[in-house]
Symmetry: C2
Subunit: 210 residues, 2 copies
């Protein structure tokens, strides 16, 4: 989808922003199910990658809250397993957590409207949370781009250069300005919804406002 097509779509129907972070566990089921759920609801999706690291750092955290709060972490791993099982999504607890989504997020921030983007996002999440691959490694991101039929080297050249860096920086600043504090988050109009289990509420809100 080109920029102008995206704008046309936005004018024509209800829309939500999907704010995701590649390191975020609950963003995985959200990313894998949002396409079909939004389509069923007649709502368009704007894909908005961002980084939680700078937001957590502002709070004095240098790690995921799921590591800083062990009971919450134990719960999350079991909950993810149940959620993925319920959705029929492949799931394997990664041997490292969190893994930096920086490189993948620069790609997603620079190319949000490309037709291949949702598929690329899904592949990166699967690599991290179903295949235990290291998504922090540029080679993993390159492989995911190749798997969706993109010229991986040309795409990475732009995404990992200044254009991709500043696109992701801007988008993370936009997340903060939107009041976003966790992932996944959904924005419908001026309303924020946080968490995979609030996707339906966000879609319903977007539909009502339209």
């Amino acid at each position: 989808m080109t920029e102008s097509q995206a704008t046309g779509t936005a004018a024509a129907r209800a829309e939500i922003e999907f704010w995701f972070e590649f390191a975020s566990t609950y963003s995985y089921p959200a990313a894998l199910r949002i396409g079909a759920a939004a389509s069923d609801a007649g709502v368009a999706v704007r894909w908005k990658a961002f980084l939680l690291g700078p937001i957590f750092k502002e709070l004095g955290w240098n790690d995921s809250p799921f590591n800083l709060q062990p009971a919450k972490g134990r719960y999350m791993w079991r909950d993810l397993e149940r959620i993925c099982s319920g959705l029929g999504l492949a799931w394997r607890r990664p041997t490292q957590f969190p893994r930096s989504g920086l490189n993948a997020a620069r790609v997603a921030a620079l190319f949000p409207d490309e037709e291949w983007l949702p598929d690329f996002v899904a592949r990166v999440y699967r690599a991290n949370f179903a295949e235990d691959r290291d998504i922090a490694d540029v080679d993993t991101v390159r492989a995911c781009l190749g798997e969706v039929g993109v010229d991986a080297d040309a795409t990475l050249h732009r995404a990992l250069g200044d254009a991709g860096k500043s696109a992701l920086r801007r988008q993370t600043e936009e997340a903060v300005a939107r009041g976003i504090f966790g992932a996944p988050s959904f924005v419908a109009g001026d309303e924020l919804f946080w968490g995979n289990d609030r996707l339906e509420a966000a879609l319903a809100w977007a539909g009502q406002q339209h």
Copy 2:
């Protein structure tokens, strides 16, 4: 419901534990809707009051995370307003937050199986989150007991004495042992579910296991 009736019910049908904290905002809609939702699902509810304060203190927090993390707090207040509106529940943002639920929790921990307990719990939550009354004040708790037709002075005498203190202490320790880190939480068999929006998943789990 007497102790023996509760045991009989547990043997006869599926059951979930409802872990709530009177200071917890998201416990309010959960407490007000769990009765009907569980009844529809054919699941019995065990009412388990506990305190989050000691759990937060272990993490080095001396306040609610909704105060410690302003963006999360701003989101929560708006989200609660939306949720209550959707459920048709009265809602007014309290002028103080959090308010200690200690006195009310001692009552609930000591008398979990009384027939009036769910109604008492609902009244305390309404006092805090719909009527902006100070539930930390014993007089508010006394009024809530009176409103459900209980001998308030006799009940408070036992609840605020050693029996109530140790019942609540034991129950909070049990919460920690169950892996509980927030409220509301639901336990179905060995499975923990956290958050008002996971009540349905907990009820479904309890039903399947039975």
